[in-house]
Symmetry: C2
Subunit: 322 residues, 2 copies
């Protein structure tokens, strides 16, 4: 009998590089990770990746799995066709590295490279909350807001491979300045950084409430803490989630009107607030998007959690396309 299929997924982040062996059904068979800044430059990092991939292939053999290829998700713009990465944060000398061809040459195995948010969206599409759908918008609410779009079963890249920047649709042209240079992008309302800054601003003004007490007692202010406070009834925290859900709902209404997707999957830190954010989001979407488009879309929380990046990267290889 033929061995079951697997793929190696690599999620390159600014802080960590996560690697994993993923079955053809999206099950994580093995995980490991590296600190991104441990490498003095790109050659050291490429060498380590080659070494780790070789070792993961041995792990696969030991587990009686065949490895079909390597998928890599990396931050920033990627030339998906060439599999080259323009730029990597925290890795010196990383500029226009033809990651795909370098690794393929050294490993003799198919390599697929894509943007990390695209990979995550594709992972959710194949193995997570997007399962069974034909089209999907995936959002990851991290420091910024990343996105990936799947149309007709395939990742949508656009004319110059820079599509799906769903965090950077304007929801208020007079809104706060965004890191991208524009104003009032949805990221400036729902990205972790802006979210926390806004909570801080309000805490300073209010000077009372559960969350305030926690923070002045030294608790680290994170989306998770604001979620916990909301669950315990803190009014300021609940209001923050409500508004965050509404802002996100406004952005999604526009995307739904334009793309009429079958599924929307929301993941990442801020999305962990569950009903506190999803209820106002749904309500806003219902109110603002076209009825036919709203009736045909389901908005769901992501299900792959912290493995999403690695599983998504492996999914690129499992689907046999980048």
């Amino acid at each position: 009998m033929a061995k079951p299929l697997s793929a190696i997924g690599i999620d390159i982040g600014g802080t960590n590089i996560k690697l994993g062996l993923v079955s053809a059904r999206g099950r994580m068979l093995h995980r490991e990770h590296l600190a991104t800044r441990d490498f003095p430059g790109r050659f050291a990092m490429l060498n380590e990746l080659v070494r780790r991939i070789a070792s993961l292939r041995i792990t696969a053999t030991r587990k009686n799995f065949r490895v079909t290829g390597v998928g890599i998700g990396a931050p920033g713009p990627i030339n998906v066709e060439k599999g080259s990465v323009y730029f990597l944060p925290n890795i010196r000398g990383w500029k226009n590295v033809a990651l795909r061809s370098v690794l393929r040459r050294r490993l003799g195995i198919p390599v697929f490279v894509d943007n990390d948010a695209n990979a995550m969206a594709f992972g959710e599409f194949l193995f997570g909350a997007g399962r069974g759908a034909k089209s999907l918008i995936g959002l990851t609410l991290g420091t910024g807001v990343g996105g990936g779009i799947v149309l007709d079963g395939k990742l949508f890249h656009g004319h110059a491979y820079s599509a799906a920047e769903v965090g950077h649709v304007t929801i208020n042209e007079n809104g706060p300045r965004c890191a991208c240079g524009s104003r009032g992008c949805v990221e400036t309302y729902v990205g972790n950084r802006y979210f926390i800054l806004e909570v801080l601003r309000r805490l300073k003004k209010a000077r009372r409430g559960l969350l305030y007490r926690w923070v002045v007692s030294g608790a680290r202010l994170t989306p998770e803490l604001v979620e916990k406070a909301a669950r315990k009834g803190d009014a300021l925290s609940r209001q923050m989630w409500k508004e965050t859900g509404e802002h996100l709902g406004t952005a999604l209404a526009g995307l739904v009107n334009v793309l009429n997707p079958e599924r929307i999957v929301v993941g990442g830190g801020v999305a962990k607030a569950g009903a506190f954010i999803f209820r106002p989001l749904q309500k806003t979407l219902q109110k603002k998007a076209f009825p036919i488009a709203v009736a045909s879309v389901r908005v769901l929380p992501a299900t792959l959690g912290t493995d999403a990046g690695v599983i998504g990267a492996a999914a690129l290889a499992l689907a046999g396309r980048s």
Copy 2:
């Protein structure tokens, strides 16, 4: 030698129904039109369409062209797969009419039905300002703002055929109420109706200037008149176009970040203001959208003019898909 190919295009509007015979290269070989409200109900209208199509086929034969099919653009939501029109303004009893199958049965010729804005976008894609591109966003600035999206050479319809409502992306969540039920859709800034209302509001306040003098002397206030005034140096008119271009640029920046298209084609009444609207639009787009995506897109005025609807409808049939 085989006769050259042509198709019949029908553009059903609220006021007029335009029909035409269009060559395979997008040339208008013959045009005619009907008043939409001349028909007491849908049967009368369907009968007249059948009669006109038959007569256009004779016209084609006389001009030595073969007719490959009939394409129809109609307002509102369309089930593109079934070719059925949910609803037609000004035609009594028009509800869920299976336009495609009814006409195909009576005519024995392929029939393609799509939303009018989609048809226009596809017409510009094949024969107008979109020629040579692989992907395109088409906008028509009419009373409202219609849109069509072409991806990889095909009209993009979405999961329930209601995609491409590009007039209804939010650019200001605190903005004016939109006919769609939302707030601050780009349509509420650049649609003819809102544009004219805003000009009126400003004229009432200013009570001076060239445009003001024209209007109080009885000239009809239209986008064309505001364009004429801008050309003659009227400050209020120029400011209106500038802001309209900026609002549109903000909406397009979001669409460019999400779809990374190769071409954007803008047509319709408001678009006639040329550089007065296109210059601030381009400037805003440059400032607000991601550099890679901006560098790979061209924004052009539509070129098919008042024939766009008929040529676009015919294009559906010429491309052999709906």
